[in-house]
């Protein structure tokens, strides 16, 4: 696999035989990748494929066991973050590294502020330079603006500017769109295409295969720490990529969901709260009700209000014609409402605690029936063992800390924790974000089973194919209101997006 057109396409970075092992795990096993000037090169693979380790090595965060990395004809032997910058590599990591209570200019030039006489920071010069960069990329912010006041999408752009301020020739982005809205993604893509035209080589890591096709020129696939192949994007289909990532073809990805609905039993009427207004819907037994919307549409706020995390301004929630008085999560849980939160790291799991403790966390009351409130440890163990088996959580023991599990297994722990409470209604918020294809399908299977048992599922998701294929009905929210309800054949990708972005003006309404 040697590049044939070397004269035309200059190789900026070539990595060969890159290996890295941690005790017990071979994270990378002789992977390779090369990067041409002015290309956007996607790096894809399931969780645990080794993508992150690979870019951590390129970014100088960790040292490989062996490698031949050549950047601009220089052999790289030492790995330190500041050296990566010297070699012309800029990395935008998944976790943003910006300081919220500093200005945009201070963030862009962190640690490299222009200094004037006596070594004082030359604020004026720093501002002018920041302004120049913002102007070049048509970003309409004042460099004095506090970063904390920006949206996640804007922060992502500033993070990229920060990386660009070191004039890199290689820019690496790790899942940059995972928390961006569609508009923000478009803006990011425009910026990246422009950088590419200026000759910067970009490595783009993403779970969203659509983005690979929208944006990238070539794609490299890793699987289980090994290199699989590199292809021109125009020569592969999404199916090909999935096959390369998983190692087998996944037939019938969106399993045929239960389409037998029972009677309406859960009803939300006139619900208003922070960031949303007058929400009305009903849910039938065994129904999957999808809720789609762009970031900021108010979906999570609505769910958190139903669950009693946020204050309700107006409206009623009823189950089996009984009005529910929910003021805090425990009220909702007692009435049989489960809420599988978005973002398993910050809201869902206690990462430093083990699987057993996490699974039991939402059912502690069940295990403390004795007078003193003593926890029945044996029952807790049996319960979590059961859940681990039922949801196929891959782990040597229930005592393993959750932070040491893969993303897919963590998500299954979260699923087990909430399905283990025997809910009547379950709200699942982004249930498959950041999990790999295999685990995704497993989660769909479990949700299908749940709906077959007569439980209604409210599915909040930004994954359009997921919402479209799993839901019986799709409600679309925009700016805090339900703007459309589509089902069956009407629920096409285009129609859902049209409502969500507000380009569809016909009909709509609140029901």
């Amino acid at each position: 696999m040697g590049p044939a057109e070397q004269s035309k396409n200059e190789i900026v970075l070539s990595a060969r035989n890159v290996s890295k092992s941690y005790p017990g795990v071979q994270a990378l096993n002789q992977v390779e990748m090369d990067l041409k000037k002015g290309e956007i090169h996607a790096l894809v693979g399931e969780n645990g494929a080794g993508k992150s380790t690979f870019i951590h090595i390129l970014g100088g965060i960790c040292e490989p066991d062996e490698c031949e990395i050549i950047i601009k004809e220089n052999q790289v032997n030492e790995f330190k973050p500041h050296l990566a910058a010297e070699y012309g590599i800029g990395v935008v990591f998944q976790e943003l590294s910006l300081v919220n209570n500093m200005t945009i200019a201070e963030n862009i030039f962190v640690n490299r502020q222009p200094v004037g006489k006596f070594g004082f920071i030359d604020k004026k010069k720093m501002k002018t330079k920041a302004l120049e960069m913002l102007d070049v990329f048509d970003l309409d912010f004042s460099p004095d603006k506090m970063v904390g006041s920006l949206s996640t999408g804007d922060k992502q752009l500033i993070e990229i500017l920060k990386a660009l301020s070191k004039n890199p020739e290689v820019l690496i982005l790790d899942e940059p769109t995972s928390s961006l809205s569609r508009g923000e993604i478009n803006r990011l893509f425009k910026l990246l295409k422009r950088l590419k035209n200026e000759g910067i080589a970009i490595i783009y890591i993403s779970h969203h295969l659509e983005e690979v096709f929208d944006l990238c020129d070539r794609v490299t696939v890793f699987r289980n720490g090994k290199y699989v192949d590199t292809k021109l994007v125009e020569n592969v289909t999404e199916k090909d990529l999935v096959k390369m990532m998983v190692g087998k073809t996944l037939e019938n990805f969106y399993i045929d969901f239960n389409k037998e609905k029972g009677e309406d039993y859960f009803e939300v009427s006139g619900l208003s709260g922070e960031k949303f207004n007058n929400i009305n819907f009903s849910l039938a037994r065994g129904e999957v009700l999808g809720i789609f919307g762009l970031v900021g549409a108010g979906r999570t706020e609505m769910a958190e209000t139903i669950f009693g995390i946020r204050k309700r301004r107006a409206g009623e929630i009823s189950l089996e014609d009984n009005y529910l008085n929910i003021n805090k999560p425990i009220d909702a849980m007692k009435k049989g409402i489960s809420y599988l939160t978005e973002d398993r790291h910050s809201k869902g799991l206690a990462l430093n605690m083990n699987i057993k403790e996490n699974i039991a966390s939402s059912s502690l009351g069940e295990f403390a029936k004795s007078k003193l409130g003593l926890l029945a440890d044996k029952e807790m163990r049996d319960f979590s063992k059961d859940i681990v088996e039922k949801y196929n959580i891959v782990t040597p023991s229930i005592e393993k800390k959750v932070k040491n599990l893969s993303g897919g297994n963590q998500q299954k722990v979260l699923l087990g924790k909430w399905l283990g409470t025997d809910p009547e209604v379950i709200i699942v918020d982004e249930p498959t974000r950041g999990v790999d294809v295999g685990a995704k399908q497993e989660i769909y299977k479990y949700l299908d089973k749940v709906s077959k048992s007569g439980i209604g599922i409210i599915l909040i998701s930004s994954d359009l194919p997921e919402v479209k294929n799993l839901s019986d009905r799709v409600l679309i929210m925009r700016e805090g209101e339900i703007v459309g309800c589509l089902s069956g054949e009407e629920a096409t990708k285009e129609a859902i997006l049209a409502y969500a972005t507000g380009t569809n003006t016909k009909s709509g309404g609140n029901k």
Binding site: Y22, F307, K328, M333, S346, L351, N352, D377
Partner: protein, 324 residues
């Protein structure tokens, strides 16, 4: 298989922070036995336990707070407040039980105040309790008019001065409380909730744990225990002093951290905290016996604390990279 389990159990025990502390205590004890003929005498060991008893009672509350990610600098001042109130009430011929109840109520009230400001208003625990530490100490000076109060009735001083099986009551009280709370923290739903709060407060809230309430309860309980320590302390010395418990709060935090709790929350056991306190006391006791200058004692205590947390951090990093 069984052998494997046993091995795991042994490894687990060795990996526990309590084990490390006990190990250090034994080593120091062993060395001291050879160095000083006075060390391994029942009177010296009892003096050591007596010295540690007050710190241990305070350490229980601090452990509870730390498991949920909070802590309290005001315990030393609350100890003094409780002693002062009890002493003043007794001198005013208030019945014994009522005097004690008044003192405990005041201490719990300070805890309630701390809890509400930290959990409801949302002020950082460090700042809040630093402020109450100062304010309460001032309050103690005010109500005592800057003078110590002695001459307390025998019915009261008995609490801190009686002997059972030749061992002084503060030791009994602290040991009994430690056993009770160790059990409660391990086994009850109520206290286990704190570990979830310390582990990830958001996730705890989403799991139906009433985070605000729990944090307030924790502060109240800590205040109550500090009040109890104040009663025992005052009874033992048969006097309430304006400086009682001054600087004790940091000793307590140090003992609890030594015992395996983390300032980040989610970890810590009462027994660990007790051994932490015992180790700190042992060091002072040993240095006294050897005849080392008082000024060196604080220095050594600080160094031991630093050493313990660095070793612990190192161990954590190792297990972290091993599992990555």
């Amino acid at each position: 298989m069984a052998q494997n389990n046993e091995k795991n159990l042994l490894q687990k025990i060795i990996a526990m922070r309590e084990f490390m502390i006990i190990f250090i205590i034994l080593i120091i004890g062993l060395i001291m036995t050879f160095v000083s003929p006075h060390f391994l005498t029942s009177s010296n060991l009892k003096a050591l336990l007596l010295r540690v008893s007050i710190t241990s009672i305070l350490a229980i509350g601090m452990t509870i707070l730390l498991t949920a990610g909070d802590f309290d600098l005001s315990v030393g001042s609350v100890l003094a407040l409780s002693g002062a109130i009890a002493a003043i009430a007794l001198r005013a011929e208030v019945p014994l039980t009522l005097a004690i109840l008044l003192a405990l109520a005041a201490a719990t009230l300070v805890g309630l105040f701390n809890g509400v400001v930290v959990a409801k208003v949302g002020i950082n625990a460090f700042i809040t309790t630093l402020a109450t530490m100062m304010a309460v100490r001032g309050l103690v000076m005010i109500i005592m008019g800057g003078r110590n109060i002695a001459g307390l009735p025998e019915s009261f001083t008995r609490i801190g001065r009686s002997y059972f099986f030749n061992i002084q009551s503060p030791i009994w009280i602290s040991l009994i409380l430690i056993v009770i709370f160790e059990f409660l923290l391990r086994k009850t739903k109520f206290f286990r909730q704190n570990y979830y709060i310390g582990g990830n407060p958001l996730s705890a809230m989403f799991s139906g744990i009433e985070v605000q309430k729990m944090r307030i309860y924790n502060f109240m309980l800590t205040g109550f225990l500090a009040g109890l320590a104040g009663i025992v302390n005052t009874a033992r010395f048969a006097a309430a002093t304006t400086t009682a418990g001054d600087g004790l709060e940091l000793q307590v935090v140090a003992a609890v951290i030594l015992g395996g709790a983390s300032l980040k929350g989610g970890e810590g056991t009462v027994v660990g905290a007790f051994f932490g306190a015992l180790l700190m006391g042992l060091i002072i006791n040993s240095l006294n016996l050897i005849g080392v200058d008082v000024y060196w004692q604080t220095f050594v205590q600080g160094s031991i604390l630093l050493f313990a947390v660095v070793v612990d951090q190192y161990g954590k990093k190792k297990t972290l990279s091993a599992s990555a």
